[in-house]
Structure formats: C-alpha cells, structure tokens
C-alpha cells in the first residue's frame, strides 16, 4: 500500500501544471463550501444563541395558568427553582425568571407601544462572558446598565435610541406606562429613563428593560410566585435536551387537594359560590361570625378536584360514583361539588346547602402583616351526595376542576404537610385518572410545530389546572434549525453545481492521464500487478489531490473569513442587522462541518475517479503495451 501511495504521489507531481490547475479549482470549491457553511452556521448561531436562547434560555420551564393559557404564573417559585436547580446540578450556570409584558408608553407628548422585559441585575453574579454579552447587547449611549438595579430611582428603565426619540424622552425623564397585570386589571406605572442604548438588532429596538423585581411587582406577582424559568447551562449543546428531559421527569405532579375545615352556612344563602379570605374579614362580618362559632366543631375534610371538562374522564367519574341525592348534570357540571354521605350525616346537610371551607395557605405574606392571608376561606353549594366507601374516602368532597383550581391556586395550600392528614385516593382506584393534579405536565415536544400542536390540544381540553411545559433550546428553536438546514441545502446545492463542473474536470484529467499512461499500465500489469492495485493507484492519486486541495481550500476559507469579518457594515433600521455581530459578518466554522464537507468531496472525487480507474485496471496488458499516442 505504501508503495502504491508513493507511485500515486509521484505521478501527481509528474503533471504539475495540470494538477495544480485542477487542485486550485477544487480548493476554490472547498473554500466556497466552507465559507457558505460557516456563514449559515453563523446566522444560526446568532438566531439560536443570541436570540432564541436570550428569549427562552437553554432550557425553559414555561407555566400557564388561566382560561386562555396565557398567564405565566407559578405559585411556588422556590419549589420550581429547587427542582430545576437540583436536577440540572453542576451543568447549570444560572437560572432566571422570564417575565415580559406588552404595554403602551407615554413620553413627552408622544405615545408608543413597547415590550417591557425584566432583567435580573440585583441578585445575580455575572460571569465575564455574560458581562461581555451584555456590553455587546446594550451599547449604552447615555447612562449605565447597572443603574437598572438602583433602588433610589423610581422604576429605572433602559430603552433604545429609536424608542427614546419616538417618545421624545431624555435620560432622567419619566415614561408613564399603561398595561394589564397578570390578573387582567389595567394598571399604570411611572418608569425613569436611566439609560439609552444603541442597538442594530431590530428586535431589541422595541424593548424597554427594567429590573425583574420591579417588573414582577408592577405585574402583580407575589414574592413567592414566578413566571417562566430560563436555565443557562455550561454546555448547552451537549446537555440541554438531557437536562430538559430530567427536569420534565422531576416535575411529575402530585395529587391536588385542599385540606380544610368545613362549616355549614345559612342554608338560605345564594347558590353561587363565594370566596373570601381572612384579609377581608373586616368587610364580611358574617364570615367572621361563622368562623368563630364553629371553629372547634367543624370536621376536617379533603377537597379533591375531578377533571369535569374532559368528557372521557367525566364519564369515568360517573361510572365510579353512586349518588344518593342530586342529579348528574349538576354534580358534574362546572360548579359541581359532591359530598360524601358520611360528611352529609355529620354536618346534617342536603343538596342545595352551602358549605364554607377554611384552610391555611402555604405562603403567608410576612412583609405586610396587616394584609396577611392567615386563613383562606371560600364557600360552595352542595350539588349532590355520594355513597362513600374505602376507595372514595369518607371525609371527602369532590369538586369540578373549574370550581377547585381558582381557590387552590389563589391561596396555595401546603400539600406536603397536609398530605399526612388528607385522604388521597389510591393509585388503583378506578377513578384516579379522573382526579386533578397539582398541575398538568405537558409531554416533551420535539419541535416548535410539536409544541404548538400540544398547546392547542391542551387548550381544546379546557384544562383548568396550570400547565407546565419543559423545552430545551432545540425544540424552542427547531424553526431556526430548519432555517439553518434550508440555508445549508441552498448553499450546498449551489456548491454542488460548482463541484459538478470541477468533477467533470477530474474525470477529463483522469481520462487524459490514463490515455497517456496506457503503456505504463500495460507494463505494470505485465510485471505482475493485480487489477485492483492498478485501480488503487489512480484512486489514491485523485484522493491525494483532493486532500491537498481541501486543505488548501480550508486555509483559504479561514483567510477569507478573517478578511470578511474585518469589514464593518453600518446597517441600522434594517432587519438584516440581526445577521451581524458588532457590525460584522459572523462566521462559525465547525470542525464537524469542515470534516464532513471534506469527507463528502473526497467521497465524490473517489467515486468519480473510480470508473475511469477501473477502465484502466481492466485494460488488457497486451493491448495496453501495443498502445501508441
């Protein structure tokens, strides 16, 4: 083999000019291919790592509560972040809450629509890389980025020069904003402009930034609540999907229930459920009275939700429960509530009576004791009484999800400590699948389309529990990956045409070479070289030429990319600006991309060389020796 390699190599140098020309053409093709590939990777890197990851993180845990699935609210931030942080372990760099809001901003006589995004600048230690990224993203024309966290200023904010001009505001001016908070109430706030930034990225131009804690307060989040969680990983490409899978597994919900004391209210009261908490006791003296009078005698009950909006699950409930009073339509309707016959006896209640439930929420607001929610109270009308047994529990009340979840989420109970005393139906109970859980964990998506379909399906089911969805950047950005693939296919096709022309050259050169060396082929065959070795000589010759051309093409590509990266493009007010980094083209050559391209070219060259080489190998030695040019 070494001998064949030496012959092939020397044969290459025999026809220097011809091979240099052919090699140059191949090197040019390789150079174009690598530049095109690196450019498409660069675009993908910008979209992926600088936009998608900025918006959704490497791993994103998104939560939706509410009718339209558009309320990003999780009621137990510490629990969620603990699960996420412990699961990600040492693969995690940091986590952040993703909170943003569309709003109308009023400047000095001008009005503009903006997106207000919260950035955690206070409780966050930045790495050098993050500082560089922030400096790159926030090119401050006036003010300092760190002023976002200045507590002595009223809601400090940074906005782009374009929006500052549109609102006619200068540093230290006040911008009034009107928006809807997470509960749908219209609110207004004052923001102080502490910085104006220049940004070529058109997506960043319409965003105003404030400190995360300020924004959460504006939006009505309580201190223990959060929106979506974004995780930043050390090695996202390696770990993102795996971490997302593990977090998804760790987020399997437990059963939802409320351990409460139940009291009978005036049986003539309204059929509509009423809700109150001890914070508004002063405005509802009847509730205080009821509470005080029956505190010691009220039985402890477990309130359990059933998924009444899901028809198959509703039917499962219907088949599993026998009612001693009440009609099915009311009991399993959206205000439906059925009490066990055991409780009905104790409380001496019948269908149509109203019960009031008292329970202790997990979180008690300590910073404002005067408004502290020490005890949550709500009431609901008994729509039916079921015959209890061991599987249903005796001190149990089953509620339609639409009735249960608003009370459950508004004042989240401490399920962990309450579970010692609550009745939780066993897994083997026939109706267990129809019972509600703390939240609904959506299946992992594999693409953006998959994700959209899944959310539509969840919407159709009218799930009342909060939904949690765990995505890695690959699913969030699968459209970006598709775009990268499309770019790669376009560039690859263009380069393939180029290569087709070059390969015609390879075939022609080889045919000419074989013709010139026919007598030589006859000689080596006569001496005793096997056909396969003759074939190998020509194939190796082409492979060496291609390999040299590929190395030269790669070097040329890197030189060209370095040159192109030094040219600054001044693009403002143009979406194409997002394709630039620091006003320059962004190339991301990858080892796998380069090796893959060279491997492909080598493969094509060898295949192209194979057929004329085989023809040479199959020449009859006698005919070849008779050949004269």
């Amino acid at each position: 083999m070494k001998f064949l390699f030496i012959i092939s190599l020397r044969n290459l140098f025999r026809q220097k000019r011809r091979n240099i020309l052919l090699g140059s053409a191949m090197a040019f093709g390789v150079m174009i291919l690598i530049i095109a590939n690196s450019f498409s990777h660069g675009i993908s890197d910008i979209l992926f790592n600088r936009i998608v990851v900025y918006v959704a993180g490497h791993v994103n845990i998104s939560i939706n509560e509410g009718k339209g699935r558009d309320l990003p609210l999780f009621r137990d931030r510490d629990r969620l972040t603990k699960i996420a942080v412990e699961t990600a372990g040492d693969k995690l760099i940091e986590y952040n809450e993703g909170v943003g809001i569309f709003l109308r901003a009023i400047g000095n006589g001008k009005v503009e629509n903006l997106v207000l995004v919260g950035i955690n600048t206070i409780s966050r230690t930045l790495t050098q890389k993050q500082r560089e990224e922030i400096n790159e993203s926030f090119k401050m024309l006036y003010g300092k980025f760190k002023d976002l966290g200045n507590k002595s200023i009223e809601n400090p904010a940074i906005l782009s020069k374009e929006k500052a001009d549109a609102l006619s505001v200068k540093p230290n001016d006040i911008v009034r904003v009107r928006y809807r908070n997470i509960y749908g109430q219209t609110q207004s706030s004052r923001l102080t402009v502490v910085g104006i930034m220049s940004n070529d990225n058109i997506f960043m131009q319409g965003v105003m930034f404030v400190e995360l804690t300020n924004l959460k307060e504006m939006m009505g989040y309580r201190p223990y609540e959060c929106g979506s969680i974004k995780l930043t990983l050390k090695e996202p490409q390696k770990d993102a999907a795996d971490v997302a899978d593990k977090i998804h597994s760790a987020l399997r919900p437990g059963p939802a229930f409320i351990l409460a004391t139940a009291k009978v209210l005036n049986q003539d009261s309204s059929m509509n459920p009423d809700v109150s908490t001890s914070e508004n006791k002063n405005s509802n003296p009847n509730t205080i009275s009821s509470n005080n009078q029956n505190a010691d005698t009220s039985p402890r009950v477990t309130l359990i939700p059933f998924m009444g909006n899901d028809e198959p699950l509703k039917k499962l409930m219907l088949s599993s429960f026998k009612l001693s009073s009440g009609n099915v339509k009311d009991v399993f309707g959206k205000d439906g509530m059925m009490v066990s016959d055991y409780l009905a006896d104790i409380l001496k209640i019948k269908q149509g009576d109203k019960l009031e439930f008292h329970f202790k929420p997990k979180f008690i607001t300590k910073d404002k004791p005067e408004f502290a929610v020490r005890e949550a109270i709500f009431s609901a009308v008994v729509k039916g009484i079921f015959i209890s047994d061991d599987s249903t529990g005796k001190e149990t009340i089953y509620m339609h999800e639409a009735l249960f979840y608003p009370k459950f989420y508004e004042n989240l109970p401490d399920l962990q400590s309450d579970s010692k005393f609550a009745f939780i139906p066993k897994e083997k109970a026939s109706f267990k699948p129809a019972l509600g859980t703390e939240w609904v964990l959506l299946d992992r998506s594999r693409s953006t389309d998959d994700l959209k379909q899944k959310l539509r399906a969840a919407g159709r089911k009218k799930i009342k529990a909060a939904t949690i969805d765990v995505n890695s950047m690959y699913e969030s950005a699968s459209d970006v990956l598709k775009l990268e693939n499309a770019l790669n296919i376009i560039t690859f096709t263009a380069v393939l045409i180029l290569f087709f022309i070059i390969l015609v050259g390879v075939v022609n050169t080889l045919r000419m070479t074989i013709r010139e060396r026919t007598r030589e082929i006859g000689t080596i065959r006569a001496i005793g070289m096997q056909k396969k070795d003759v074939l190998l000589i020509f194939v190796i010759e082409t492979a060496i030429l291609t390999a040299f051309a590929s190395i030269a093409g790669t070097i040329l590509a890197f030189i060209s990319m370095a040159g192109l990266s030094n040219i600054a493009f001044q693009i403002t007010d143009n979406p194409m600006g997002i394709l630039l980094v620091k006003d320059r083209l962004h190339f991301v050559p990858t080892f796998i991309g380069i090796v893959g391209n060279i491997g492909f070219i080598l493969f094509i060259s060898i295949i192209t060389a194979f057929f004329p080489s085989r023809k040479a190998a199959n020449l009859s030695a006698a005919d070849a020796l008779r050949h004269f040019e």
């Binding site: 001998f3 140098f13 006859g522 009859s620 020796l625």
Partner: protein, 224 residues
C-alpha cells in the same frame, strides 16, 4: 525438462471487419535454461507468440503449458500471479516506470510479492543492479539514463524475482549495435549464471548468433 510446451496454438484477432490470423497452429517445446531466439520478419507473429507465452495475451485455441501449468484455463488473478512469479519481461522500449529510480524500478516486482521483507527486497535488487553494472546509477530516474543503461535496468527488473523464464521482445531494436551486443552478452551471462530460460524475439540476423536455439516463424507458422 521442458519449461514450456505449446501445442496447436492459434491466435486470431479482429482488425476492422477482417480477422487477422496471427498464429496458425504452433507446436514446440522449450527446455529449462535454454537461450532461444524467435526470428521472423515484421508481422510474422513473434510478439503475439511471446505475449501468449508471457501470459499477457490469450490464445484463440491450443494448449500452452508453462512450468507444468496449463495457462489457457486460468483466470486473470492466477495468470497475473504466474507473470509475477515465473516470468520476467524485457521490452523493446525498456518500459521502466518513469517516477521510480533505478533501485525502485528493480524492486518493483518484489514489492508486488508482498511477503518479502524490505531489507531482503533491497539486497536482492542491489545485487542485480550490481550484476548489470549500474551500481553508480542506483538513485537515477530512467530519464537520466542512456538507452543501454535503461535496458540493463529492465534486465535486472526481469531477473529480480528469479523467474523461470525471461521474455525479451526485440531487446536491442532501440539500441545502437555496440550497446545491443553488450545487452545480449549480459543476457547470455545471466542465462548462464541464473540458469534462467531466455526467449527473445528479433528480426536482426546479427543478433541470432547469440541464440542457443532459433525458432523461425513466418506468417504465423513455424518454418523449419
């Protein structure tokens, strides 16, 4: 003992729309160690006969037995092996590999044998180069040698595998008469030293005197 036995050998090949009968029933045997000359005018079938004996062309009919092996029944791989191990070639136009130097050209057949050590190959090649008097040109490429020197390299290459038969197709045709005589003397010497059977074709009557035996051929037939 016969190293070559040929019976009723014919070779026809198409030339445009006609069939050329290059050999029309040749019968002869050659004993091991002979120094045989095949003579005849141009187009008589000398090269075709040598090509068939050298296993680089096929017979149309008849039998060709070389060293006890009927070569007309072998496949390409087996025939190539016979060429490598049993036959050496000396061509009229020398046919050296231009990208290899003298040593590499002589080593070439041994390297194709694959089961020889590098030092063994080199030692054997150098001894042959020394025997043909080219030790001082061992690193020269063919283009740096004279015609006579090239043919000496070809002789060394033909003998390096220690073959049973060396076939030389008009080995002196491209050389001046003095050099041609030197080459024939060298072949004769090698025939004596190595006990290798030499068969060479020629149409030069001055060359025939070197042959131990002469086989005359005309129009594809043997002539007494």
């Amino acid at each position: 003992m016969n190293i070559i036995e040929i019976k009723e050998l014919t070779k026809n090949y198409p030339l445009g729309s006609t069939i050329v009968h290059a050999l029309r029933g040749i019968d002869f045997n050659i004993a091991s160690g002979d120094f045989l000359s095949i003579v005849g005018p141009s187009g008589s079938g000398k090269t075709t006969l040598l090509n068939i004996i050298g296993c680089i062309d096929n017979a149309s009919s008849g039998s060709v037995n070389i060293g006890g092996v009927e070569i007309t029944k072998l496949n390409d791989k087996e025939i190539t092996d016979i060429r490598l191990h049993k036959i050496g070639f000396i061509f009229q136009t020398f046919n050296l590999i231009p990208v290899l130097d003298v040593l590499e050209n002589v080593e070439f057949p041994l390297l194709l044998m694959k089961n020889r050590s590098k030092s063994e190959v080199k030692k054997r090649a150098e001894s042959l180069i020394d025997a043909v008097g080219l030790s001082e040109h061992i690193k020269h490429r063919p283009s740096e040698l004279s015609g006579g020197q090239r043919q000496r390299v070809a002789i060394a290459r033909a003998l390096v595998t220690n073959p049973d038969i060396v076939l030389a197709d008009e080995p002196t045709a491209n050389l001046d008469s003095a050099t041609g005589e030197q080459i024939l003397e060298l072949m004769k010497e090698m025939n004596r030293k190595e006990k290798t059977t030499f068969i060479f074709s020629t149409h030069d009557s001055n060359v025939i005197k070197y042959a131990g035996y002469v086989l005359k051929i005309k129009d594809g037939k043997m002539v007494n």
